[in-house]
């Protein structure tokens, strides 16, 4: 007879608490996003709305990862390993959360800065700084990764490239023929990032608990 193994009560309780905390956080951030959306952001095209939506998703995902980094059971569950996470693994999760959060901010920043009249050069300097930090971190992560982690990174990158180049080829052809509107680099950037963020979550879904033989 086959049955699913009983879930860890500690994990169930931690997930329940996470749900409550994240709901409160989601409501607060969504209220902030609503405030931005209505009169405080420079919106001229669909990509501006999309940038705000993707930026919001990044901020929410980062908060969830940061929260999980403070719970041993939740972080172990996310990493799909037995035992408590090490200090190094916990720190890695926090750095990742910080980078995802900053990515969300950077995606929203140009529109917000323009809408609120912030100095453009300074804002752009911040974006460049983030790009440098993100690039260095990604290269370091790739170099220090083992074969399984590296394969996942390449797999996510490969799917992202396939989807974006296919989309660009189709849209670029249609644009040159005058069949669709001209896209800007901002439009293309937000679509590429949306695909890059969504692709890993489809590729690397958590496996269901293994059935237990009785």
């Amino acid at each position: 007879m086959t049955q699913t193994s009983a879930p860890d009560p500690k994990l169930v309780a931690a997930k329940r608490m996470r749900l409550i905390v994240m709901l409160i956080y989601y409501v607060a951030v969504s209220a902030g996003a609503y405030w931005l959306w209505h009169g405080h952001v420079y919106i001229t095209r669909w990509a501006d709305d999309a940038a705000l939506a993707v930026g919001l998703i990044c901020v929410l995902v980062a908060a969830r990862l940061l929260y999980e980094s403070f719970s041993k059971v939740l972080l172990s569950d996310r990493m799909q390993v037995e035992g408590d996470p090490t200090r190094r693994e916990t720190n890695q999760a926090r750095v990742q959360a910080a980078l995802i959060f900053l990515l969300g901010v950077v995606l929203v920043l140009p529109n917000v800065a323009f809408g609120l009249g912030w100095p453009r050069q300074l804002v752009y300097g911040g974006i460049v700084l983030f790009v440098v930090v993100r690039t260095l971190y990604t290269l370091r992560a790739l170099r220090s990764a083992d074969e399984f982690i590296r394969r996942r990174m390449f797999e996510a990158g490969w799917w992202t490239m396939l989807l974006t180049t296919t989309g660009l080829l189709l849209y670029g052809g249609a644009e040159r023929l005058g069949l669709v509107r001209v896209a800007t680099s901002w439009d293309v950037m937000i679509i590429v990032f949306a695909i890059a963020i969504v692709t890993p979550s489809f590729l690397f879904k958590k496996p269901k608990p293994a059935p237990q033989q009785t």
């Binding site: 990493m79 799909q80 390993v81 035992g83 074969e147 399984f148 394969r151 496996p207 293994a210």
Partner: protein, 65 residues
Amino acid sequence: MQNRLRTLRAERSWSQADLADRLGVSRQTVNAIETGRYDPSLPLAFKIARVFEAPIETLFQDDLP
């Protein structure tokens, strides 16, 4: 590909972290191999065989009938 890593690790009372340290990989990698989500490269498979002091064909079996 099926493997006996989890059983052999349990026989030695090693945690996933212990095995990961011996193999020089992350715990996620050990877990992914044990749960059949990832088939290791040939060099890593040989390393696993050396760590468990067992022939490689006794550790891994393909899914073919």
